[in-house]
């Protein structure tokens, strides 16, 4: 999964500078001036970025092109160009109907895991980050140390111990085994903590309290709107992490009815390596394309909040 490239367009600003309809003003000095509005253009930099852009887009292009091919077409044609027959619609249809439409089930499972897991993780991170940033209590530094430490531990390393714990509790092979561990996002908590301490002026909270608002009301009415960009950022991070999560469900789940898309697609792929199994590479490819579409949509929809969030605090008021 590559993250989409955010391009900052300055075309709009450039257009607004010239008066529409009139010829461009003649400049006596053709020497280019570099400022924040007109950044210096470097050929090398452009080349380098194009190269990186190409590198990150080629797999995506391959995926999109390959999704239009049949199983036979996949093996007889060049990877980055189309095959004779255009089979995208058949492939999509088959992806959703193959094996009694189990793909839809996997899609719904993934949505469930992302909804409850990533949504819950964000909610907890916001509550925790706000509390840690804005309230002083004994042991705060210890919590900080634990959180920073937890960021360093990869989730994959925790999967097996978590499995053992969950199996003792009898939760393996249920959706809870995927949702509950996803609720914990140390990085999200850390991010919200830093964000909350910057984005919410303590004076504002004090003003709200003086006006008679309780803590709950202050949080929901005053703090939460200010935290929106941070929340979106954490939500995006946890969403991508849960959506792409492979190892945790792999360890926890045995019942294909509870598989997320990642495991499901892998089981289709593995089918080709089984005696008597049917090779369905075309469906694996198409399924993968369908799988990343919601993520792309989420990024496109949420990125403006995200960007305005990243700009917060960069300008002195």
């Amino acid at each position: 999964m590559t993250s989409p490239v955010v391009t900052v367009s300055d075309r709009g600003a450039a257009k607004a500078a010239g008066t529409p309809g009139s010829p461009p003003p003649r400049l006596r000095t053709p020497r280019r001036r570099h400022s924040a509005d007109k950044p210096r253009r470097s050929v090398w930099l452009t080349l380098l970025t194009s190269l990186v852009l190409l590198y990150s887009l080629v797999p995506l292009i391959w995926l999109a092109v390959s999704a239009t091919k049949t199983q036979e077409g996949l093996s007889r044609s060049f990877g980055l160009w189309f095959d004779g027959d255009f089979a995208l619609w058949e492939n999509i249809g088959q992806t959703f109907t193959y094996d009694d439409g189990v793909f839809t089930r996997w899609l719904l499972n993934t949505l469930l895991y992302v909804g409850l897991g990533a949504g819950g993780a964000t909610f907890l991170a916001v509550l925790g980050g706000y509390a840690l940033a804005k309230f002083d209590f004994p042991g705060r530094r210890a919590v900080f140390a634990v959180v920073i430490g937890a960021v360093a531990v990869p989730g994959t390393a925790l999967a097996v111990p978590t499995f053992l714990m969950f199996s003792k509790m009898g939760l393996t092979n249920t959706p809870w085994a995927v949702i509950v561990p996803s609720l914990i996002s140390p990085f999200g908590l850390y991010l919200m903590w830093v964000f909350a301490s910057e984005a919410i002026p303590t004076e504002l909270m004090e003003a709200a309290r003086i006006d008679g608002a309780g803590e709950v009301r202050t949080f929901f009415r005053v703090a939460l709107p200010l935290l929106a960009p941070g929340i979106v950022t954490v939500l995006l991070f946890t969403m991508v992490a849960t959506w792409n999560n492979y190892f945790l469900p792999l360890v926890m789940l045995k019942d294909p009815d509870w598989y997320p898309l990642t495991l499901g697609l892998n089981s289709w792929n593995a089918q080709a390596a089984t005696a008597g199994g049917e090779a369905v590479f075309n469906l694996v490819v198409t399924g993968s394309l369908v799988t990343i579409l919601p993520l792309i949509a989420a990024f496109l929809l949420l990125q403006r909040y995200w960007r305005s969030g990243l700009a917060a605090g960069s300008v002195k008021e």
Binding site: S75, R76, S167, T172, K254, P256, A272, A273, A275, G276
Partner: protein, 446 residues
């Protein structure tokens, strides 16, 4: 013996380390596995109904399960694909260690049977009268479910007597004769390479299942298993026969550097750059679904021989349905296994492209005369059935073959990518297998 198996149970870390730690493993004494369940009990269980969970990846079982449910309305078969071969074994081992979520029936390949049978994790089906079925199945698979012991730990589901699948179009195009011996095979590989530099006789980057099958056919018997006493020896004449020829294929770069079962491999089978496959008889279904474009190009010939005129064969792949000791409702589970592997289910599975392990079906006229349109109308089953009859039944796998196969590419696989020879590779495979076995509490001899 008892002391031995105790030590083994404690030691068989491969099994327990995967999950919950050793304490959860094998607390049974092993004597409880001799349960007696009569036909009467089975009938009563079917009458009463219930749900059984079956872990299997074999696609034809789906229809079998549906038919079984229709026949016994009270019974529900929950067919779960818990992963393919080694993935499923890990899952099964985890469940057994955790004593939770153990399926009532599990698909286990012959090469992996020993691991479960020896640690008494499978119910001995002798108590169900399964030993009376010995004549029902062909000798290779039957030997497989006995796993070197005297119990019957599963009922054979399918088998994989080997044959040579070849792309007739490619052979005809270059005027190459279909090889009947491995020496001719080597010549054919050279001719083909000369005629078309892009084409290879076959693809091989080191595959444990294939190598053990080839050793089997060549008369090598590297593994001797007697309870917990194991002997591993790759220095017999059979092993030398295999490595001598195969080494030449490697040295002269006559093998396509393509790993089996990848999309590249399927591609090569389709476009004629991989011209033959020495595989189990279950392969036609895979060819038909994975290489549709080459329909009509492929044919089946008997497996090439090491000595001209001989008729030796070996098994490649194949699996059985077993009842894990910790699974529930054994009478019902056995009823299903018997239905699927020895009863009406076999017919259903054959119709859907599976290859039988039952002698009656192998010998039946209907089966033998089935024309495969994929093979240009050839009655390929005749070749397979003959191969099945020619499989020597004194082969055994290691009780920890799953582990051994997992390190195949680190040892023997080196022969394909470096100056190490195949014989040296086998030697280091032997070393590593001996070492692991000793660590696990087996008495291993070289």
């Amino acid at each position: 013996m008892h002391k031995h198996s105790r030590r083994l149970l404690r030691g068989i870390g491969l099994v327990c380390a995967l999950a919950l730690g050793v304490s959860a493993c094998g607390s049974d004494d092993g004597d409880s596995s001799r349960k007696a369940v009569s036909q009467e009990d089975i009938r009563a269980a079917l009458e009463k109904g219930g749900t059984i969970t079956v872990w299997a990846w074999e696609p034809t079982l789906e229809q079998v399960a549906a038919d079984f449910e229709k026949k016994h309305p009270g019974v529900e078969v929950d067919l779960v694909n818990a992963g393919t071969n080694a993935d499923q074994y890990t899952a099964l081992q985890n469940a057994i260690s955790a004593k939770k979520g153990v399926p009532d029936v599990a698909q286990i390949e012959y090469y992996a049977m020993g691991q479960y049978a020896l640690t008494k994790q499978l119910t001995d089906l002798k108590g169900f009268g399964a030993d009376k079925l010995s004549d029902t199945f062909s000798p290779g698979p039957w030997n497989g479910v006995k796993a070197g012991g005297d119990g019957v730990y599963a009922l054979p589901m399918d088998s994989g007597p080997m044959a040579l699948f070849y792309n007739k179009k490619v052979f005809d195009e270059h005027g190459i004769e279909v090889p009947t011996t491995w020496a001719e095979y080597l010549d054919a590989a050279r001719e083909l390479r000369k005629a078309d530099p892009k084409a290879y006789i076959t693809a091989d980057t080191g595959d444990a299942g294939f190598a053990t099958s080839m050793l089997w056919q060549a008369g090598s018997r590297p593994y001797t298993v007697n309870g917990t006493e194991v002997r591993i020896d790759f220095s017999d004449q059979g092993a030398k026969t295999f490595t001598d020829t195969w080494q030449q294929l490697i040295d002269e770069k006559l093998l396509a550097p393509v790993t089996s079962w990848t999309d590249d491999w399927y591609k090569g089978l389709g476009d004629g750059t991989i011209a033959t496959l020495a595989m189990g008889a279950w392969m036609p279904a895979n060819l038909a679904s994975g290489v549709k474009d080459a329909a009509g190009d492929w044919r089946v010939a008997p497996l090439p021989q090491w000595t001209a005129g001989a008729a030796a064969s070996a098994e490649n792949g194949g699996s059985a349905l077993a009842l894990p000791e910790l699974g529930g409702d054994e009478a019902l589970a056995y009823a299903f296994v018997e239905y699927a592997n020895a009863g009406e289910g076999v017919r259903t599975r054959l119709a859907n492209g599976a290859f039988p392990a039952t002698t009656a079906d192998l010998e039946s006229k209907e089966f033998q005369e089935t024309a495969f349109s994929y093979f240009g109308g050839q009655q390929a089953n005749k070749v397979f059935a003959e191969s099945a009859a020619n499989v020597a039944d004194d082969w055994s796998y290691l009780p920890y073959q799953v582990y051994a196969n997992s390190i195949f590419n680190d040892t023997v696989g080196q022969a394909y990518v470096s100056d190490t020879t195949l014989a040296e590779g086998l030697e280091s495979w032997q070393e590593a297998s001996v070492e692991y076995g000793t660590e696990q509490g087996f008495t291993v001899e070289k």
